[in-house]
Amino acid sequence: MGYSFRAEHSAPAERARHWGNELEETYRMLMYIGRRLSLALITCVAISVLTFVIIRLPPGDFVDAYIANLASTGSSVTAEQAQAMRQEYGLDRPVYIQYLLWITRIVQGDFGVSMMWRRPVTEVIGDRLWLTMVVSFAALFLTWTIALPIGIYSAVRQYSVGDYVATTLGFIGLAVPNFLLALILMYFGFRYLGLSVGGLFSAEYAQAAWSLAKVWDLTKHVPLPAAVLALAGSAHQIRIMRANLLDELRKPYVITARAKGIPERRVILKYPVRAALNPFASSIAYVFPYLVSGSIIVSLVLGLPTVGPLLLQALVAQDMFLAGTIVLLLGIMTVVGTLISDLLLMWIEPRLRLTGRS
């Protein structure tokens, strides 16, 4: 708490103190935002270093790989050309210089060329990155909409049949890895409904330019993969919501609210649920990286045009610029997503907003 109002103070001193408090509050809030931003920045740097390591890991440098790749298709590169390329990428200089050169290019928006496709990496990735984010955000949204009401219900009606059903389903959701769930769904969809489950677009829109109809088509295809992704996360979040709400329901302020004569539903929703929402919201920040991760592998099973299948192809073909770029962009988008949810948490939690700590 740090500071508190006391009844003994004279009015002018009080007022001065009050203004001091407001300044202090703003300062603490800015400190909190600053801390979050700098952590996000450091995380991005860490991700870029890891990405660079991944790009550099395969034996031989990228020019060797490039030459080998060209040779396999019949064309060739002269020794001078190779030397020029090495110089351009700084491959003859110390590792940290190479990293700096690489990161400078990245910041300028130059992600290099995909060897496999012989096109700039950004072109190869195209819409896939956005589609990955669409699927991941849809899954995040679903996680909220599934976990919140079920978690509340389970806690308020503890030990009811519904609670047991939710708990059991939750455990199964935790235990079935999402790619397995995707496989099982695909199998049953194919076997018993004759559906080809999967993809994000119907055949006629897959190659078409963006239009309202294509967006609508996408909207129709997103829920299934999003649900597959959301299941495990929801199971986890249901347990968190249930446990926290059970704690909150026992607290005296709930009785205060009841003693006011407010209807029971409003008592529950306005007070304990609101308090249990904070740990729920802060833990859901950790769900996002998990969803992005999961989307990669689920995309492979369900054949979604996200970066997942592309990443696998690139890795198998050791097309390291493409693979590295995907890892980097996914990482950064995850950090941004997590940052947004952190700031949202600050917005909904008065204590965090006013004191910079929870």
Binding site: L50, P177, F179, L183, Y286, Q318, G331
Partner: protein, 367 residues
């Protein structure tokens, strides 16, 4: 567990014993403990339980559906399976093998089969069950066969060993990292703590699968199965230690305030001694709980990586590798039994989750 019972080993035994008593009341967790033990027994006796050589390839018996063992026939108790007969598929004109109900093959216990080394030491060819008279193409295929005619049941048995042991190895490595870093963080506090906490936060906010994929894909193709196994273990545990470190740090912070630790400090015991003699025993149960909750994540990691073809590589057999065969819907439609390889994954993860939950409740009834 030898040596004389000193006062503090009694005290910590008391703590563990209390935890155990509380744990036994948790029925689901208790049952899960037995399931987990059963799985590890399967892992240890995998080759003994396997019926056919898990690597034996014969395309002619590819995609055989699961076969039932009949216990009785007209002569009374006579466990047997149907043999196979060659047939020409009228559509594809390929030679296929189908069960022949007229050909009875007796099943016996402790039958002879392929050679293996029990515990890696004793060379033997005895298996729990098998055909009384082994024949070239016939065999017992309880879960059917894959495209190459390999027996799925035997492969699942052998895969259990690799998948469970890689989980255990990764979790041990994570545990060492977690106790070390979490311990340092909780014991010294201050800037060191701040730094380690930030590192953990950073790792937790990175999407792990693309990262694993990148690291795993960079493993040279020339590496042997063993080398890849250890590399994958390392990759999984490098990312999985954070949760364990968090638990260890939390316990350290809580314990630092406990009276008996303060008392030991006042008496002048060294930091290291305090840590080893007083603090570690008292949070063993918490760590066991955290480990059993971390294990399923490790198993899922290995399964996912191998499923993608970036983890273990054939001829190694793991659950992920078995599931790789089930990736394609067309294949699944024709041979749905390949999905059965998912059952042990789901069961063991569920069991570990219940077990971990029960242990955590037992270790810390108020937390």
């Amino acid at each position: 567990m030898s040596g004389s019972l000193t006062d503090d080993s009694l005290a910590s035994a008391g703590q563990l014993r209390l935890t155990w008593l509380r744990f036994k009341r948790h029925k689901l967790a208790f049952v899960s403990l037995f399931i987990v033990i059963l799985f590890y027994l399967v892992a240890i006796f995998a080759d003994f339980l396997a019926i056919n050589d898990p690597h034996a390839v014969d395309a002619r018996r590819g995609y055989l559906p699961p076969q039932a063992v009949h216990f009785f026939d007209s002569d009374g108790f006579n466990p047997h399976v149907s043999g196979m007969k060659g047939q020409r598929d009228m559509k594809t004109f390929k030679q296929v093998y189908v069960p022949d109900p007229n050909k009875k093959l007796s099943v016996t216990l402790f039958a002879r089969g392929y050679e293996y080394e029990l515990f890696g030491l004793i060379s033997t060819d005895r298996h729990l069950i098998g055909l009384a008279k082994p024949e070239l193409l016939d065999g017992i295929y309880l879960l059917g066969t894959d495209a190459l005619g390999r027996d799925l049941f035997s492969r699942v048995m052998v895969a259990t060993r690799i998948s469970l042991s890689i989980g255990l190895a990764s979790v041990s490595l994570s545990l060492v990292l977690g106790i070390l870093l979490g311990g340092i963080s909780g014991l010294y506090g201050g800037l060191v703590d701040l730094f380690i906490q930030r590192v953990i936060e950073i790792i937790r906010s990175i999407p792990t699968i693309p990262l694993w994929m990148g690291l795993a894909a960079a493993l040279p193709n020339t590496w042997s199965v063993i080398q890849v196994y250890f590399a994958i273990t390392l990759i999984i545990s490098l990312i999985g230690w954070t949760e364990l470190a968090r638990v260890v740090r939390g316990r350290f912070l809580a314990l630092r305030e406990e009276d008996f630790v303060i008392a030991a400090e006042l008496v002048g015991a060294s930091q290291f001694r305090i840590m080893l003699r007083h603090m570690l025993p008292s949070f063993t149960s918490h760590v066991i709980a955290a480990v059993s909750l971390a294990l399923p994540a490790m198993i899922i990691s290995e399964t996912s990586l191998s499923f993608l073809g970036l983890g273990l590589r054939p001829p190694a057999i793991s659950w992920g590798i078995l599931l790789q065969d089930a990736q394609n819907v067309q294949v699944l439609a024709g041979a749905p039994w390949l999905l059965l390889a998912a059952v042990p994954v789901i069961v063991v993860i569920l069991a570990f989750n219940f077990l971990g939950d029960g242990l955590r409740d037992a270790a810390d009834p108020y937390g």
